[in-house]
């Protein structure tokens, strides 16, 4: 097994960096093809397969950067983030991180935002299924329980705070239209999944604040307190209930949690 391990180390070493050629002397050359040519075949196939996965997952990013820059990005990514997962589905998940850190991409802050949008849609697509909470359940809540009410959300629900008009850029590209010029536009976008189809919309600041609190297990009372920044004392509870109803209607909420003790036991469920 020791010899086999060494062979595999040399083989994988070559795939990750084709200047590491220890494997070549372990391969038979034939008149048809030399050992170098035979290994080059595996080296090319390795990169091609990973590039194909990135190209599938980041179609709009590819469209925005163009072929050459996207090719540079893929080369850098393959070098920096080898796959540690049995499925290619998860290979490209760190691409926004690379974009933020490496030249020339870090000069283009909207690029990481576009990458995060595509990643979020990917996550929403196959996030775990769950039972959704209903408006009837909300109506049946004990009035006493409202203050401490917390929500558990469907795994597809994701908030994307953006500094630029990246969503408009993404939307144009995904409709195969010319993207608008980059402009500053501080907006939080919401992605969720309804009847197995991913949805998205821009949030007003008040709703984005409320949802951020709810997603981090804040209570209905916490939400109301925060909303006082935006609404009068009279309007606030009604606004907060309105948000809750919409989230429930949109199949974003999996559970209404009115028991503080249970919530503590469920810690980490959000």
């Amino acid at each position: 097994m020791h010899a086999l391990r060494k062979l595999q180390q040399d083989f994988l070493g070559y795939l990750l960096d084709d200047t590491v050629v220890g494997i070549v002397e372990r391969i038979e050359s034939t008149p048809r093809r030399s050992a170098e040519q035979r290994m080059a075949f595996y080296g090319n196939a390795y990169k091609l397969r990973l590039k194909e996965a990135l190209t599938t997952d980041y179609e709009c990013l590819h469209g925005y950067l163009g072929d050459d820059l996207f090719e540079t990005l893929m080369e850098k990514y393959i070098e920096s983030y080898p796959s540690h997962h049995p499925s290619l589905r998860y290979f490209g998940q760190h691409i926004a991180k690379l974009v933020e850190q490496q030249e020339p991409f870090r000069q283009l802050p909207e690029v990481a935002e576009i990458a995060r949008i595509e990643l979020a849609f990917g996550n929403s697509f196959d996030a775990a299924d769950c039972q959704c909470a209903s408006l009837e359940q909300l109506a049946q809540l004990d009035p006493e329980a409202w203050a401490t009410l917390t929500l558990r959300f469907h795994g597809a629900v994701q908030l994307l705070p953006q500094q630029y008009n990246s969503f408009q850029i993404w939307r144009a590209l995904s409709n195969e239209e010319a993207p608008p010029q980059k402009t500053e536009d501080e907006t939080t976008w919401l992605i969720w999944r309804q009847d197995l189809v991913s949805q998205y919309r821009a949030l007003e600041q008040a709703e984005s604040v409320a949802l951020t609190i709810a997603l981090s297990a804040g209570s209905f009372a916490d939400i109301c307190t925060a909303l006082l920044e935006y609404f009068s004392e009279q309007e606030t509870p009604q606004q907060a209930v309105g948000y809750l109803q919409r989230w429930i209607n949109d199949q974003m909420v999996s559970e209404l949690n009115q028991d503080q003790e249970k919530k503590a036991a469920d810690c980490g469920s959000f």
Binding site: Q8, T30, A35, R38, P82, D126, D129
Partner: protein, 297 residues
């Protein structure tokens, strides 16, 4: 042994989901790529469940990495078993290869050196996997582009020996035999003649491409005539074996692929006695007993 015979199947591909659900085409079974459904939820599993309601399925994986010198990936095995419980497949297969090392996945099916060391190593791991899954698995022969200097036997002896010692089954890919025979200059019929018939449970057929010197296993073309001829030879040698066509690129419309599958059926009808082609009586909810596995250690 009378091996279970599922008939003629196709690989389940996302491009064909709606067609299959709408038209319920006459296909005996589908082979799914296990990793595509090892996801938390959403559409992939929804389609899988719906199509499973109408068709028997087998599961085919690419990431078991049975020949790697890393420890077996227990998370992967856990997810595989979870999927197995959901799908209730007729059987589960993967490849006789390694795919990664040091927790880094190449996402390629990499060849092993054919020697005693590798056999001992792989057999031990197949036994572990079968113990964990509680059933025998099928291992598929690769198409490969290199020969290691420390290989000491033919590929078919290597495949047989592992199947015999690990008590597992063989998924014989007829196209892979053809591809490797060309790339390594061996006789594909000697390969077929050298494989233990009792171990063969399934055939793969596929198209390939030729780059002028090597044949590449691309699954992006129709099955070619020499591979159909080799398939006929395989049927003569092994009898009726559940057969499917793999298509992974340039995927045609479903009816066209279904049409290609009838070529396989026609060859089988011409080559074998009619009674050999009677489908095994397998209820969709039941794994065939031939796969049941209890190690007598």
């Amino acid at each position: 042994m009378r091996r279970p015979f599922l008939g003629f199947g196709l690989g389940l591909r996302t491009e064909h989901y709606s067609y299959i659900l709408e038209h319920k085409p006459a296909v005996d079974w589908f082979e799914i790529l296990s990793e595509n459904y090892m996801v938390p939820g959403g559409k992939p599993l929804d389609y899988l469940d719906k199509i499973r309601n109408d068709y028997p399925m087998v599961m085919h994986g690419v990431s078991l990495s049975i020949g790697s010198t890393d420890a077996l990936n227990s998370d992967y095995l856990k997810n595989l078993k979870k999927l197995m419980r959901r799908v209730q497949p007729q059987w589960i297969s993967d490849h006789l290869c390694w795919t990664g090392l040091n927790n880094t996945n190449s996402h390629d099916l990499l060849p092993l050196p054919y020697n005693e060391d590798t056999i001992t190593h792989v057999v031990d791991r197949v036994v572990q996997v079968q113990d964990y899954l509680g059933q025998r698995i099928l291992l598929e022969n690769l198409s490969s582009y290199v020969t290691y200097k420390n290989s000491e036997m033919t590929e078919w002896d290597f495949v047989n020996e592992i199947a015999r010692r690990a008590d597992c089954h063989i998924l014989l890919d007829i196209n892979n035999i053809f591809v490797s025979a060309h790339n390594h200059q061996f006789d594909p019929e000697s390969y077929l003649a050298g494989i233990d018939s009792d171990r063969v449970m399934q055939f793969h057929l596929a198209g390939h491409s030729y780059n002028g010197e090597m044949i590449i296993d691309t699954h992006d073309h129709d099955v070619c005539d020499p591979v159909w001829a080799l398939y006929a030879t395989a049927l003569k040698r092994f009898g009726a074996v559940s057969t499917m066509i793999e298509r992974d690129d340039d995927i045609p419309e479903f009816p066209q692929l279904r049409q290609e599958l009838s070529i396989a059926e026609d060859i089988a009808v011409r080559t074998l006695q009619a009674d050999a082609l009677v489908l095994s009586d397998i209820s969709p909810q039941q794994t065939h007993t031939e796969l049941n596995y209890a190690r007598t250690a």
